[in-house]
């Protein structure tokens, strides 16, 4: 493998990691601050993608589509928080899993009812279609570069929000001691709705960004949801920093594993066996990484005891 190909694959890993961060940021906040396991997070990702596809089809504008994805997912998030999620904070995790699993089914069939069973069309904006040439002669899709930039900007914004603003202080306080912050006069119900809607908006935004280069279809959120859970377990539940580091780790591990493992096995196995053993092991790699991290850091990389 040449150095250029390796750099290109590192970029791919970075882009995948940044996407995963957008998805896991909300999940880790909701899990950390409210102690809630939200399986329906993947559905909010799907809501964002469908809203973007619908608006892009109606207006032709990708920027409007992205704004629609933020708004629709935040709205859907706030709505389910007020009607369903709110009742689950005091229940145990099994109840939360059951109720949010029900939400997945409701979202999926509701989306099918509104948009039909066939995948929708959402394309990258014309200006970002096609590749750009990077220094060193690497051809890289312009849209993927933009995803990296947007993702890093959102990550920086999230750090600033959590660490530098009053809302961020309240969120961190809510994570540490729910009763105490309520006793200090913070409207904890409103704060929770805000955090939930924020996480939903990020997931929806990720769905719209990714929908343009993948397939906008019912059930698109569940595979990503599993990865997002891996990310927050590796990073430590409740930690934005952990989600960021975990997402990049998973992104790099998955991308490089898919490329390198079959080649490594090819050194001492016959080609067809190397391909199948390598591919099989590559798809397990992030779970092995997770298990490895948990052995040494049972609460994840940045988890608090």
């Amino acid at each position: 493998m040449t150095i250029l190909l390796f750099i290109e694959q590192m970029l791919n890993g970075l882009q995948f990691g940044v996407m995963l961060f957008l998805m896991s940021a909300g999940l880790t906040l909701v899990f950390g601050v409210m102690g809630l396991i939200n399986l329906a997070h993947g559905s909010l990702y799907m809501v964002g993608a469908f809203a973007a596809a619908a608006v892009a089809a109606a207006t032709g504008s990708f920027v409007l589509a992205l704004m629609a994805s933020l708004a629709a997912a935040a709205l859907a998030g706030a709505l389910i928080e007020l009607t369903v999620i709110r009742r689950l904070y005091d229940r145990d995790h099994l109840d939360q899993v059951l109720a949010t699993f029900a939400l997945i089914l409701i979202f999926s069939e509701g989306t099918r009812w509104m948009f039909g069973s066939f995948p929708l069309f959402l394309d990258v904006p014309k200006v970002l279609a096609g590749p750009v040439t990077l220094p060193g002669g690497i051809q890289y899709p312009a849209y993927r570069l933009s995803i990296i930039v947007i993702g890093l900007v959102v990550a920086a914004g999230m750090f600033a929000l959590i660490n530098r603003t009053r809302v961020g202080i309240r969120i961190r306080a809510g994570e540490a001691d729910r009763e105490m912050i309520a006793a200090l006069g913070v409207d904890i119900a409103k704060l929770y709705t805000f955090v939930f809607a924020l996480g939903a908006a990020l997931a929806g935004f990720a769905g719209a960004l990714v929908g343009a280069i993948q397939s906008v279809q019912v059930g698109m959120g569940e595979p990503v949801l599993i990865l997002a859970f891996v990310v927050i377990v590796i990073g430590g539940i409740g930690s934005i920093k952990g989600a960021f580091v975990g997402a990049l780790l998973v992104g790099f591990t998955d991308t490089l594993g898919r490329i390198l493992l079959p080649q490594i096995f090819a050194l001492f196995l016959e080609p067809s066996a190397a391909v199948s053993v390598g591919s099989a092991l590559a798809s397990m790699l992030i779970y092995i990484l997770m298990a490895g991290v948990l052995v040494f850091r049972p609460r994840g990389l940045y988890g608090v005891a």
Binding site: S117, P223, V275
Partner: protein, 377 residues
């Protein structure tokens, strides 16, 4: 909504005729979740033929397997034991077919496959009561390999998901392709990001790419491939280019060659009428899945005209004769009850605002599958 109410009306009309129904069909297919588009097309094609036949001695029970093998098995048990169906049909996915078909045929039921054609059921595990109306899984990939030879490709990069049908696909392509392989990759089933694979394709020095990535995986791959600037010719089986998903891929699919046993421009009266009536009934163009559902129902109806389902031997012979007007033109079963048929090469084009396919060549003529010799019936 129109689609649903039409199917409902058909189902209710049929349910009303229960009293004198003598053939009862159980359809197990995927109507919810990610793969629902395929099951819905098969169901709609099947029900269109049933509706057109207007027989009141045919009843169809339709259930959703959710693409889960355990649910498909439960549904099959229920249909055989309490609904007392005579014939089962409808399954889309090979792993579900493997879970249901051998048990159903062992209990003396007929199974007509409108889609899945796993190799065990065509070879050693074939059964006199199992008929596949679509294709054996390898067929379209074999035609793609033959087409690659005809086009003069010398060096293909091939990829498919890491699961049995993916391995069948690459095996099928390699069985016919005579050139070299500059790369062979198995991706994760359900993978949606192919950046790493596309970078490898770019670096491989191949002159063509063959990929089998059905449904949403294919949509993702095609869009990302188009954005990557790699411009090697792509070839795939029809499963990534059916009418249901082409609109979601858009321009990225234009000009791509794909292999199929059916297309809407196959020139015969049955096909023309099928395309028109399907569009009128459901408001969309039919896909190859819909054509397979339509042919399956017509095969069944032709057999009902010749024999009583209670007389299994006579009914089996009537099915085997396959005397119905297929949308594919000539249709015949081989010795292992799988089709012997022409497989075409299509190209993705745009008609007005709609992306669709047109036939540009014939990949393989009167093609049977590679497993027939292992079938001892």
């Amino acid at each position: 909504m129109k689609l649903r109410s039409a199917a409902l009306a058909a189902a209710m009309a049929l349910a009303g005729a229960t009293a004198q129904a003598d053939v009862k069909v159980g359809m197990i297919t995927t109507l919810s979740g990610g793969g629902a588009g395929l099951g819905i097309d098969v169901r709609d094609g099947f029900m269109l033929a049933v509706q057109q036949a207007g027989r009141d001695d045919l009843e169809v029970v339709i259930e959703d397997d959710q693409r889960k093998p355990d649910i498909a098995v439960q549904l099959a048990d229920k249909m055989i034991q309490s609904e007392k169906v005579d014939i089962l049909t409808g399954i889309i996915w090979s792993n579900l077919a493997m879970a249901v078909v051998p048990a159903a045929t062992a209990q003396g039921k007929f199974y007509l496959s409108p889609n899945a054609g796993p190799s065990p059921l065509a070879g050693k595990g074939c059964h006199e009561n199992y008929f596949n109306v679509a294709w054996q899984n390898d067929n379209l990939h074999e035609a793609a390999g033959a087409y690659a030879n005809d086009t003069g490709f010398k060096n293909s990069f091939i990829l498919a998901p890491n699961y049995p049908a993916g391995k069948d696909a690459l095996t099928g392509y390699k069985r016919f392709f005579e050139g070299e392989l500059s790369g062979e990759l198995y991706t994760k089933l359900g993978q949606t990001d192919y950046a790493a694979e596309i970078a490898q394709i770019r670096a491989s020095g191949a002159d063509s790419v063959y990929f089998f990535l059905p449904g949403g995986m294919g949509i993702s791959f095609l869009k990302q491939y188009a954005a990557s600037g790699v411009d090697l010719p792509l070839v795939g089986p029809a499963f990534s280019f059916d009418q249901g998903i082409l609109q979601a891929v858009g321009d990225a699919a234009m000009g791509v060659k794909n292999t199929s046993q059916w297309n809407k421009d196959i020139d015969n009266a049955t096909n023309a009428a099928f395309v028109d009536t399907f569009q009128a009934e459901y408001g969309r163009l039919p896909s190859l899945y819909a054509s397979q559902g339509f042919d399956t129902a017509n095969l069944l109806i032709s057999a009902m005209g010749k024999a009583d389902v209670a007389d299994a031997d006579a009914f089996r012979a009537a099915l085997k004769a396959a005397e119905f007007a297929s949308v594919r033109g000539d249709f015949a079963f081989g010795a292992n009850h799988h089709p012997v048929q022409d497989i075409y090469v299509r190209e993705v084009i745009k008609e007005g605002d709609v992306y669709t396919n047109k036939i540009i060549a014939t990949g393989l003529t009167n093609h049977a599958d590679a497993y027939a010799a292992d079938c001892k019936m």
